[in-house]
Symmetry: D2
């Protein structure tokens, strides 16, 4: 199979670097172009990226000359653009490229909640990709924007999917989030060493609105959101990678711990593309798992681990812990998996 | 005023050292005796305590010869014994000393939930000290045992007290707890560096049962527990001191953020003893406070800081953050404050 | 005694905040003005300083309106200006104020090595203040600039002073430096969590040149530098405050461990101003001290702790550990102590 | 090729787990038996090992029943025993197994400095394996003990090897060591969070004596030690894995930075067994490398990274930074590499 050429918008930042690393050696995609802000344009990637991943920077990417995002015309042989742009410029740039005919697989929040933009975790709602046709027609674009959820919302929503069968009424979630979620310079060490910061800008809003769209049903050309409420409290802790979430789920009726465990264990999907983990959800039976340091790399960082399933003291309520790698399953890996499904299903 | 002589049971451990440090220069109490396990008996405290506090070990304590807990008779001039014993031996030792006539102010969990043992946060339920007479009569003891709550429960319960006026229906709490709560060797660095451990043995049980007793009402010779349910999820994070808690409170009726803030701000108590902080509850208005590193030492470690009061997405529910110093307000300082109230109110 | 009015240049940064905190309640100095960059000018200090110290921001400072550094004329009642300015603008601003008649006590490196600028650790070389007259005359200024050394150099040089009696030939030093030395946003958490960064810009140069000037002798109007060589290797570690330094000192002749210990223990000074610690050097005899967490606050952060004195395997060489608080003894506290000595000795 | 059967003595501890993980899927060795202390004997490995590595416990090891070290007779089909025993019992157990005919590849320090025990880093002194014959004859054993150096000494000595050509006169080294070197419960989090501990028991002695033996020359049946002195200062820092070392090397004559870099770059070996890294020494040219978080996994944890080569201020002296993974290159991986060379060269 001839590889599909792809590019990265915002290639020098924290998530951009993850895209570069994860796309290295990808069986379907070939990295063709790196885009970044004007001060990097024209320079080699290795000269402008402050590489911080514990892997060698891929040689091909290292030598690539960073391109400008001003001219959409010169990169015609690229099919997919992964977007890790800063929120401030993402909207305009992504729209420009989508209009010009590219498939934009975006990790940015700005377009996620627009009705005609698919917000996808393939193991849950790959059928929402049908919105692509709606979007293209409505906007008159040759290309389109598709999005993956917020890092914390992905971990939560994947863990909720198998429980939907029991009727979810309310969800409360308290997060303990890794510093890599804020970007390389996002959290000063003076702020977080020996500390917890109980605030992450806009994070609670995203966690409280995205799951309902993802778990919603496609009816005609619209998503009908799932109807339960989510209430989130988000906190930063001194952890490099991996978001840990304490979740309370109130069901419509009484559900046992064993039923919940079984739902997690039985969860399977038909997504079999390269980045799809063998198990999207891994149930840990130990009393003190999942832990970010031990579980974040499960399924090459694409599995969500759950554990400590126990009855709460409230009626019809179960509490458990969910954990996932925030820059792989929660960001760059999620966008790549989405693009794989696009390709497999003929959208590109 | 002549000072009251006091001793410490279990003086070498993490909480024991806090007692030694906090009692140094206490205006009412004079440290007279240190007790520890047999391998320390007969040696100077400075030779057996692996001191880890960032203060100089008090000179007088340093030179004290550690006593055995086998013979209760030789320490007759001591009025109060603070207990920081390991759970395994605490029950038997505390009962022996109480029977022999001492007031035991215990930080250990073993006797907390017994109906005739006061479980006290003085700003909330100093009236529960009336159980002392019940206990002495029922057990035929000359002395008695009084207890302070679990470290996480103290922080939570203090924050709940001002909200009782609105009618609390349900409480959910997710903790991010400091390593000092587990004792000096309790949490290996290999376990917690760059990690979260979502399990602390028996902690959730304590948080789910102690608040109702503390917030209960004394009726005759019995405590009638408060009736709301608490559901806790407890987690260890890489923080030295200070427990941070994300709290959801569901009220009987709708309560506004402003009403909750006002309740916190208006909260005052009549406890004016040396260890009583000027403000038991400090309301932080910044969007990212309280934080353990910045707020744990507020009120010399005896104040609980609250912040981020916001409406949840659930009916009649408010969420907020509470934070307190786990080995001061949550342990040794709590026991000392309790003993001060004992003295002030004539129980010793 | 009427207090002397003082101001802070660069008041919002990491060291600037330390000045604000340490000057609160100072018996000789009264904080009169805070200066910062243009975007803060005209706003209250509490609105522009991202306060990160675990103490309450002093009320008076909180309400002060930040002043511009453009106009030197309006602050005529101030005698001393403490400078915590960024290196890029410090030179010009400090010179302007010194010329206009102020005593500038600077923590910035830019003027330290100029021959007519005193570089002072009062316990060592308060006599170097005689350079002030030289400087004023040579430059035709009404005021003057005096400086304190680099944070790591202060810790090292204080520990070397008592050893000078034995004839120092060579010094090698390896540092393990706290993140607060780099300023609030200086070290991203992603860079330093679970890591060591073996590089700090220009730090080794400062450590290799400042000690000789400080330990030099004033001959006429010039400092004759001490003649030993220093070779430094500087590293950042995940510690909030407190620089730890492994030091090798090669002497002219054989010196025993006991002689070195005695030199440290016997070290006394005639500096008795408010910020002068009771003991400038504290000898720890434990095998695993000094440690930053346990020893940085010794002497209110103004003492340097030394320990682990042992013979090396090289001829006439001793190795030991030195530790000091980098933003108190190593920065703001050092500048304040210097200003106290200025006042006591009639320079202001 | 038929795989050689191997066992692990002390399989449940920190280094023991590394052996289990690294031997999983080894092309030449097949894990046949796990040995641990009496309280684990008879139980499945998964029941007794508190697994802390961020990889799944290998399935085969998980199900193995832990064996007792009392009876050497029952494991006759095993050729190599890797030893990660506690120092207290290692000597007796290792000798018993060696006497009984096994090749013991030991990570323990107890036998390292015995004249007839090879202390080997194969890229440096595989020829020292000739001591095996000496040992067997002298002791009348069927088997033998071979050892790998201390974790810090391996990193240092590998970096010194290429510099030997210039004539090394003196070495000083300051370490910043990871907590995993002390074993799972070796360093309490309360001791090391936000801290440096400037003491590691016996570590300096090992660093000051092992390099000379490793870099010594085999003359007849004896090792003639290299003659330079090493002086070490050893410190623990809050890092999980990877020891970082600041090294000063004084040469017999003047050596330039470029000569040292070239020596590192040119270093090659003829060791080509499975665990031998492609490059035993990796030269990093960035100004802030090597760093443990970024470089410890280089060469699958078997490469030592060096960088920051610069002239010191002392005559004929160069300083640089060396870094290596302490539990892979510095412990379990080193023992396995040694055993591979044993096999390749016909010693087993």
């Amino acid at each position: 199979m001839k590889k599909i050429k792809v590019g990265i918008l915002g290639a020098t930042g924290s998530v951009g670097q993850r895209f570069v690393q994860l796309l290295d050696g990808h069986p379907w995609f070939e990295l063709e172009a790196l885009f970044a802000s004007e001060r990097s344009v024209g320079k080699k990637y290795k000269e402008v990226a402050k590489w911080f991943l514990p892997y060698k920077m891929p040689d091909e990417a290292a030598e690539m000359v960073v391109k400008s995002m001003d001219d959409v015309s010169e990169i015609r042989d690229i099919a997919v653009l992964f977007s890790a742009l800063p929120g401030t410029i993402a909207s305009e740039v992504e729209k420009r490229y989508a209009q010009a005919g590219y498939a934009v697989s975006s990790n940015v929040s700005v377009h996620r909640m627009e009705p005609d933009v698919p917000l996808v975790i393939p193991e849950i709602n790959a059928d929402h990709l049908a919105l692509i046709a709606v979007q293209k027609e409505k906007r008159g674009w040759d290309g389109f924007i598709m999005t993956n959820p917020n890092c914390s919302a992905i971990v939560l929503t994947l863990s909720l999917k198998p429980l939907m069968r029991y009727g979810i009424k309310e969800v409360r979630v308290s997060t303990m989030q890794a510093v890599s979620g804020a970007g390389y310079a996002g959290v000063p060490s003076m702020a977080i060493l020996d500390n917890v910061i109980p605030f992450i800008g806009n994070e609670e809003d995203k966690m409280e609105s995205e799951p309902q769209k993802i778990l919603g049903t496609l009816e005609g050309s619209e998503i009908k959101n799932a109807t339960f409420n989510v209430c989130a409290s988000c906190h930063r802790v001194p952890v490099m990678d991996g978001h840990t979430e304490a979740v309370w789920v109130k069901f419509e009726e009484s559900v046992s711990e064993e039923e919940v465990k079984k739902a997690f264990m039985d969860f399977t999907t038909d997504i079999k593309t390269p980045f799809a983990p063998e198990k999207a959800i891994i149930l840990r039976e130990e009393q003190d798992r999942p832990q970010p340091k031990l579980d974040r790399d499960a399924g090459k960082g694409m599995s969500v681990s759950v554990g400590r399933i126990r009855r709460g003291r409230m009626e019809n309520e179960i509490k458990y812990i969910a954990q996932g790698h925030n820059t792989i399953r929660g960001a760059a890996g999620a966008s790549i998996l989405n693009a794989e499904v696009l390709l497999e299903r003929g959208y590109i």
